[in-house]
């Protein structure tokens, strides 16, 4: 299946500063891909290249199988910038204008404009688009992107100014769009939203993609298990057991949790039983998206592949 959007080793420099380096990924129909990274990591630059606003300094790529600068490719694209800007128009005229420059006209356009106004609760806003609140402007920008029923949506922090109810509505819309076979690529700092709706995540740091994969892949570091044990508190005589654990242990009430490499569970369970402890649970360790944001020495540039499984010393 041809990707809707493809980046192959794309780099971007402004004067002597490399903003993007060797960025490779693709977006396919029917998937939601989250784009994470701290401020200034290059997310907006990436989206701007895809939308034909910036010219890549190196590498190749395509939008709908065509050049990023081909306007006919953008006919099937809906783009919402981080800071939407409007002409001196009413909300209705702004949505109609967006449809017109996507090549729509006549009754079809009028019907789509009415639908978009209703869908994004903009029907009762008579004032000029530029005078709307930030949240209302963001809804209007989303309505402009949806009016032409695009195959690919590029959204730069689309819910940053929305209230929880509007965030919920946008989430439902994005899920419905995915159900209709559309591709969605969006950057966001709202990690819970990203975790909730995305099929895949790209993590960008200093212009490089340092991690990418499905949400379970990103949240479950390969080969690490968490054991939760009762009866062997850290401050008891048994603390020596935990001192041998490969990762720091954590005590919460009576329970102690410890991370161990997969494959060593039998060794550890026997040790715990022999010491008189009770195994409460054992399961794969889940990362949080927040922890992915924090820079670590383990983050190596990766194109497509998740980083290597962390190595652990075998306990004595």
């Amino acid at each position: 299946m041809q990707p809707l959007l493809e980046f192959c080793g794309i780099g971007k420099s402004f004067r002597d500063r490399d903003v993007l380096r060797d960025v490779t990924f693709s977006i396919h129909p029917g998937e939601i891909v989250g784009f994470l990274g701290r401020n200034g990591s290059g997310k907006t630059t990436t989206l701007s290249i895809a939308a034909g606003l910036l010219c890549a300094s190196s590498g190749t790529g395509s939008l709908m199988g065509r050049s990023f600068f081909d306007p006919s490719a953008r006919q099937r694209l809906g783009f919402v910038p981080e800071n939407p800007a409007f002409f001196r128009q009413s909300s209705q005229a702004a949505i109609k204008f967006a449809g017109q420059i996507q090549g729509m006209s006549g009754h079809f356009l009028s019907a789509r404009v009415r639908e978009a106004l209703e869908q994004f609760a903009l029907g009762e806003l008579p004032m000029e688009a530029r005078k709307l609140s930030r949240g209302q402007q963001q809804r209007l920008a989303l309505a402009q992107a949806f009016v032409s029923d695009p195959d690919l949506l590029l959204l730069d922090e689309p819910t940053s100014a929305l209230d929880p109810s509007a965030v919920h509505d946008v989430r439902e819309l994005l899920l419905a769009a995915r159900g209709a076979g559309k591709g969605i690529f969006f950057s966001s700092h709202q990690l819970s939203e990203v975790e909730r709706i995305c099929d895949r995540i790209l993590l960008l740091r200093d212009g490089r993609i340092v991690r990418q994969g499905t949400v379970p892949e990103m949240l479950l570091p390969a080969g690490i298990l968490v054991l939760t044990v009762r009866g062997l508190p850290l401050d008891s005589d048994h603390w020596r057991i935990w001192r041998l654990a490969p990762q720091p242990s954590l005590q919460s009430g009576e329970a102690v949790s410890v991370d161990i490499p997969a494959g060593q569970q039998r060794h550890w369970i026997e040790k715990i039983w022999l010491a008189g402890g009770e195994l409460l649970s054992m399961g794969p360790k889940r990362n949080s998206l927040e922890s992915l944001f924090l820079p670590t020495d383990k983050d190596e540039p990766a194109s497509g592949a998740p980083p290597e499984t962390p190595r652990y010393e075998r306990p004595q």
């Binding site: 402004f14 907006t44 630059t45 701007s48 939308a51 034909g52 606003l53 910036l54 010219c55 600068f69 306007p71 006919s72 953008r74 006919q75 694209l77 783009f79 910038p81 981080e82 800071n83 939407p84 800007a85 409007f86 002409f87 001196r88 128009q89 204008f97 967006a98 017109q100 420059i101 996507q102 090549g103 006209s105 920008a141 402009q144």
Partner: protein, 232 residues
């Protein structure tokens, strides 16, 4: 073409006060003159000369600030991320500077005919003057647009205000370079019959060709230019 018209219309409506002011300007001059009592034919000619120069300066300002304004306001991001080519966008920018010029010329025609009748100037003579002005506006508009793509901030306007007089001065005696001859014909335009004729077609054609060349130059600069609003 429909997309160009939609973008141009949005830009014009956005600057509607500018458009109204340019449309009203010649009529305000007419009212002021008529309030002053009897007008001599020399005053009318002088006024028309002045208004032609004001019109050219206005178009130079509008065209040289067009790109920068859209960039600063970030509206350019919205438009160029849609199914519109850079050429179409540039055409819309150029038209958004030229249409106010056209409104100004039409308004000058109405006011000029009224003034001209009191100075025994024929309508044909005024029309020929305004046609020359319109051709020069197309040229100055293209020059301003090219500089607005090339230079940041207020520099495009500064560049046009230096380059246009230099080009007029340099091309003045050369009919093949047109624009200087046309400006000269505006300044020579007067009460004598031989000065109210439409200038040589060669000058008009070469000025229009230059305008096309400048527009193509602007397109060449713009076709792969990074559109990067400040702050991103």
């Amino acid at each position: 073409m429909r997309k160009v018209a939609a973008v141009t219309w949005a830009m014009l409506l956005h600057n509607r006060w500018q458009l109204l002011l340019l449309g009203a300007w010649p009529w305000l001059f007419l009212l002021l003159l008529q309030a002053g009592g009897a007008i001599s034919p020399e005053d009318v000619v002088s006024l028309l000369h002045q208004e032609c120069l004001y019109g050219l300066a206005m178009i130079a300002i509008l065209a040289s600030s067009a790109f920068g304004n859209e960039l600063r306001s970030r509206r350019i991001v919205f438009v160029l991320s849609r199914a519109i080519s850079r050429q179409q966008y540039l055409t819309a920018l150029w038209l958004s500077a030229i249409v106010p010029g056209l409104v100004y010329v039409l308004s000058m025609l109405g006011a000029g005919v009224i003034l001209g009748s009191s100075a025994r100037l024929s309508t044909a003579a005024i029309v020929s003057l305004l046609m020359v002005l319109l051709v020069l506006m197309l040229w100055v508009g293209a020059l301003g647009l090219m500089f607005s793509i090339l230079l940041p901030g207020f520099l495009p306007w500064a560049a046009v205000s230096v380059a246009a007089p230099l080009i007029f001065y340099w091309s003045g005696p050369k009919p093949s370079l047109g624009s200087g001859m046309l400006l000269q014909s505006i300044m020579d335009w007067g009460l004598a019959q031989e000065h109210t004729q439409f200038p040589a077609l060669a000058s008009v054609s070469s000025t229009l060709l230059q305008a096309c060349g400048l527009f193509l130059g602007a397109y060449f600069l713009f076709r792969r230019k990074d559109v990067c609003p400040s702050g991103d």
